[in-house]
């Protein structure tokens, strides 16, 4: 599914450019959930932006493919149409654009890029209603401008709402647990777990083990200084929580 090989990438312009990803290799097969953990500054968010094509992040070497397609050459919207979805650590406010308009535009843009027909208004509304109910989202909220005036928890739930509406093939969750209380965390995790399927892969980026109690990963990778330095099963997350990155990494590297 997602295959990253010896990836190197820099952040910043020209002479200011700093290498943040340093030969990262990682494979997430379809149907699996992998977690990436790592200390601050390890390159976790950078990896998510490099994979989704944010400008200002330049790939200097290596490759990344999704189902065999080279995604690094694509515009962000093409990657989205191929099924890449990033749940943002800090979801962005879009004043003046209601949630429903936004998601419907996104959905139809993706369909257009894939050569599919637009979704009909009744189908869209029906789907939206079901998902909103599942995520305990107020229908009124979906008429408001995207993320404007939303609490931290509401923003994260709205990310999951968009994810469930757009049904991407590969999900990247960037620090989805940050800013969530335990109830919101459970709701969000239920949404994510409902998305698990044999055709879908997920990369869960997190600082703490807490989220992984609710979204159980198949594998845990430790990212440090822009590379995967350790890979293990779910127990690795618990060890990191107990012993800290220094403790776990000290023995390995």
């Amino acid at each position: 599914m997602l295959k990253i090989e010896n990836l190197t990438a820099t952040v910043g312009e020209a002479e200011e450019a700093k290498q943040i990803i340093n030969g990262l290799t990682l494979e997430v097969p379809a149907g699996e959930v992998h977690a990436i953990m790592g200390p601050n500054g390890a390159g976790k968010s950078t990896l998510s932006y490099v994979l989704t094509g944010r400008s200002g992040y330049e790939v200097t070497g290596g490759s990344a493919t999704l189902n065999g397609d080279d995604i690094l050459e694509m515009d962000p919207e093409e990657r989205a149409a191929k099924g890449m979805f990033l749940s943002f650590q800090y979801p962005v406010e879009i004043p003046g654009v209601p949630v429903m308009t936004f998601v419907r535009t996104a959905m139809n843009s993706q369909r257009k890029l894939r050569g599919e027909d637009e979704i009909s208004a009744p189908d869209f509304i029906k789907k939206s209603r079901e998902i909103a109910k599942q995520l305990k989202l107020d229908a009124e909220m979906l008429k408001r401008p995207v993320n404007v005036g939303f609490s931290g928890g509401e923003k994260k739930r709205l990310e999951i709402y968009q994810m469930m509406m757009l049904e991407p093939r590969f999900l990247i969750l960037d620090e989805t647990d940050s800013g969530l209380d335990i109830d919101a965390l459970k709701t969000v995790a239920e949404g994510v777990n409902a998305m698990r399927s044999p055709e879908r892969g997920m990369l869960v980026i997190t600082h703490y083990q807490r989220l992984l109690d609710y979204i159980k990963p198949d594998k845990v990778h430790v990212l440090a200084a822009g590379r995967i330095v350790k890979t293990g099963g779910p127990d690795l997350a618990h060890r990191l929580e107990a012993e800290g990155y220094d403790g776990v990494l000290g023995e390995a590297v």
């Binding site: 094509g53 962000p76 989205a80 979805f85 003046g96 757009l166």
Partner: protein, 408 residues
């Protein structure tokens, strides 16, 4: 042409000579003469004249001629149920049946224009409106409340189109009007005068769209009596050179003016939104919101001024906001917000911003699959939308026009 007439303007260009010739062909009229002299003192305003620095008519109008390629735009404003008054370079049409509460007089002669010194192109319109087929002044008196919208259309191929309209709203009268400036003539100049008596309510929607060859000066002078409520919304796409100028005088207590505008300028299009509001009476309210978005090669100009004299402007409540988006490299926006306040017990605020679209918002939208151009259009539409909200039934039409432009 007599020598005396020829000497009216110092160093005239071909366009100014043509304007003098047109004036010479109109019947003699002392008021017309005063208006023309007020224009002629400076001729076509140019960059060295205060208030015209960024919008230079003398440079944009070397000659007056029918554009080889006109950009006459379709009129998007609905006319069903409206009373349509149409000014073309050569003619004028107006509705035969008028409801009670509206009286229309098409006067051949000019009326006095008091502010001609401050508004040279308004003075020019006052001097040159009229002739065999067009009224010198179209006077409309409104006493009713539940009236159809009056729609004024300025379009049609030709050299020049001059028009002057005076509307007076008697106490308590209510009226909505719209104006479409659609291009076609090489030079269009209009003077609209709106006088709202006590408690009158007036809504004005202005739509302007023309090509890269047309030059337009639409001037409005507005006077507000006690408790009058004036609401204006403009959507301008510019042309070779377009200036939409509004001067509002609060002349009695408790009047309210709302002046909103949005401008969208593509390459070769210049839109100038200029306003001046004089708080000449206590406790008057002004709300002004101007939003613009400009592409490479387009030019937006915003000049706003609030003037609050010391002895009469106490308790003024006024707010002026201008926000512009430079959508591409090479887009130009010039802004000059001015507060000139001498009274001490007032609430006046202003804000002025210009910048590019937010990169975070753009990436967020594209990550969700929205193509770059569409994301840009959605964000820009959302950005200007607030300035079009006061237009009631016409809001959707204006939004649609803006959306179509953004999606081009």
């Amino acid at each position: 042409m007599t020598t005396a007439l020829r000497d009216l303007i110092a160093n005239p260009n071909a366009a100014e000579l043509e304007l003098i010739a047109r004036y010479g062909m109109l019947p003699e009229d002392a008021r017309r003469e005063r208006a023309f002299e007020a224009f002629a003192k400076g001729g076509l305003p140019h960059r060295r004249v205060e208030g015209w620095h960024w919008t230079d008519f003398k440079a944009a109008l070397p000659v007056i001629e029918t554009p080889a390629e006109t950009g006459v735009a379709a009129d998007p404003l609905p006319t069903e149920g409206a009373l349509v008054f149409s000014f073309t370079p050569t003619g004028f049409t107006w509705p035969e049946d008028l409801p009670e509460g509206i009286r229309v007089l098409a006067k051949p002669e000019a009326q006095a224009f008091g502010a001609s010194e401050d508004m040279p192109l308004g003075a020019l319109a006052a001097a040159l409106a009229g002739g065999k087929t067009k009224p010198g002044t179209l006077m409309i008196e409104v006493t009713g409340q539940d009236l159809p919208r009056l729609h004024f259309r300025f379009s049609g191929d030709g050299e020049a189109n001059f028009a002057r309209v005076q509307i007076i709203l008697r106490p308590g009268a209510k009226l909505a009007i719209s104006e479409s400036y659609l291009g076609g003539a090489g030079f269009t100049a209009s003077l609209m005068e709106y006088s709202l008596q006590a408690g009158a309510e007036f809504s004005r929607t202005v739509y302007q769209r023309a090509g890269k060859a047309e030059v337009l000066a639409a001037t409005a002078a507005v006077q507000l009596d006690e408790g009058a409520d004036y609401r204006q919304t403009t959507l301008a796409f510019g042309s070779k050179l377009s200036r939409l100028e509004t001067r509002v005088t609060h002349q009695e207590t408790g009047a309210k003016a709302t002046l909103n505008a949005a401008y969208l300028c593509a390459a070769g299009h210049h839109a100038d939104i200029t306003t001046e509001v004089r708080h000449g009476a206590p406790a008057c309210v002004t709300r002004q919101l101007t939003k613009g978005a400009v592409l490479d090669g387009g030019r937006g100009v915003y000049q706003g001024k609030f003037f609050v004299p010391r002895n009469v402007g106490q308790k003024t409540d006024a707010d002026m906001q201008h926000n512009a988006l430079l959508l591409e490299e090479g887009a130009e926006v010039f802004a000059k917000p001015e507060l000139e306040i001498y009274a001490d017990d007032v609430e006046c605020a202003h804000g002025n911003t210009s910048g590019a679209l937010d990169a975070n918002q753009m990436f967020y939208m594209r990550q969700r699959g929205i193509a770059e151009e569409e994301a840009r259009a959605l964000l820009t539409e959302a950005f200007i939308a607030e300035a079009l909200e006061e237009t009631g039934e016409l809001e959707d039409v204006l939004r649609e026009q803006a959306r179509a432009w953004l999606a081009r």
